[in-house]
């Protein structure tokens, strides 16, 4: 897993730094490195997802929080289920 500088995350995602900081403040993105100056691919993919939810689907901030929480739990369930039924493609 590579660490990506914040400027690079902005370039790759096409999102301004201020907006990414807003995402962090809203607790939607929690970079593994506390200060947020470096991020990883998980953070980048999550930022892209949040932008799609907001810009393309018109989800508001409250909605984003709920969707992200549900998605995190859904993905976790997938992982847990995959562990239980190892070998089956979920």
């Amino acid at each position: 897993m590579n660490l990506i500088k914040l400027e690079e995350v902005c370039r790759l995602s096409g999102v301004d730094e201020e907006i990414i900081i807003h995402f962090i403040e809203e607790d939607w993105v929690h970079p593994s490195q506390e200060d947020g100056s470096m991020m990883d691919e998980e953070d980048l993919a999550r930022i892209r997802l949040i932008c799609e939810l907001k810009d393309e689907f018109g989800v508001n901030d409250e909605g984003v929080s709920i969707i992200l929480q549900l998605l995190d739990q859904l993905n976790r369930m997938h992982l847990e289920l995959a562990k239980k039924f190892q070998g089956d493609d979920l």
């Binding site: 897993m1 929690h30 490195q33 691919e41 993919a45 999550r46 549900l70 998605l71 997938h78 992982l79």
Partner: protein, 301 residues
């Protein structure tokens, strides 16, 4: 190629607004993150996105209607279908095999906490649990190229820790909700893992590069040589050009910090070493050469 109007369920006479509306509706339904693991939905979503790229703006739509979808565009489309799409890796894919975000809920998935986590934010008389700090020792190599380790927390739970390539001593990794339990409906605290990188003798980090000091003889410095030098991936052969000095730097591409194409380089810093006890024969041989080849390096620029 299937007609983008058909894919988006609109007609040629539909307005741009109708196209957008229909696209949003379909994209919501088939978004890969809202259908994790559903290959069919993922395929459908790519089709929809591509169809929208073709007719989603007045410009592109006019082009398409004029029939300007040439071979190149078709090729691009095929490439596009093969790749992850213009959106890059989906969030769901980034969580496969256990992402940080998927593990931000602790181990009680399915229990009572499951719903409390969702709706319990910011209620009265609820306090967030305390954060817990841990320290983790990481080998130099693991810190440079990344690793996965497990740690056992105070509460007996084990945590998979992905060490990102390039991490440095003192950096903290945060695991949301893995700290102490909250009171009432409060959320649990976070676990912080502070990284301490064990030094590796002879190796020094310099940003994404790794500096390694390699001693050479003064004879090798004059004639040039091919010598074995250590890297994080084992020894490699390195050509030393004639005329190097102590402090000369040579670069070995891709043996530094990071993963894959973004990996930094190893910088070999040469150190010319003269034998401690000079053999008399060597000394007299050099003395003989001195009148012809002596030079004053302090006069050089």
């Amino acid at each position: 190629m299937t007609d983008p109007y058909t894919i988006l369920g609109v007609s040629k006479s539909s307005s741009l607004d109708e196209i957008k509306k229909s696209y949003r509706k379909l994209a919501k339904k088939y978004h890969p993150d809202l259908n994790p693991g559903n290959k069919e939905a993922e395929k459908k979503f790519k089709e929809i996105s591509h169809a929208f790229d073709l007719i989603g703006t007045n410009e592109s739509r006019a082009k398409f209607d004029r029939g300007e979808t040439d071979e190149q565009q078709q090729k691009q489309y095929e490439e596009y279908m093969k790749s992850q799409g213009r959106r890059g890796q989906t969030f769901h894919d980034s969580q496969k095999g256990g992402g940080r975000y998927s593990y931000s809920f602790g181990d009680d998935i399915g229990g009572d906490d499951f719903f409390e986590n969702l709706f319990g934010r910011g209620r009265e008389s609820s306090f967030k649990g305390s954060d817990v700090n841990y320290k983790m020792q990481v080998e130099f190599r693991e810190a440079a190229t990344g690793a996965e380790k497990t740690i056992t927390l105070q509460n007996g739970k084990t945590l998979q820790v992905k060490i990102p390539a390039g991490i440095e001593t003192g950096k903290k990794l945060r695991f949301k909700g893995m700290g102490e339990a909250g009171s009432g409906k409060g959320q649990p605290g976070d676990a912080y893992i502070e990284i301490e990188v064990n030094p590796l003798p002879g190796y020094k980090r310099s940003g994404m590069d790794i500096e390694v000091e390699v001693p050479i003889s003064f004879i090798e410095a004059i004639t040039g040589a091919e010598i074995k030098v250590p890297t994080l991936d084992g020894e490699v052969l390195l050509k030393i050009p004639a005329g190097v000095s102590t402090g000369s730097k040579l670069r070995i591409k891709g043996k530094g910090v990071g993963v894959g194409e973004q990996r930094g380089n190893e910088i070999v810093v040469l150190k010319v070493v003269t034998p401690k006890e000079v053999n008399p024969a060597l000394k007299s041989a050099i003395e003989k050469l001195k009148p012809q080849f002596d030079y004053n390096p302090r006069m050089q620029q």
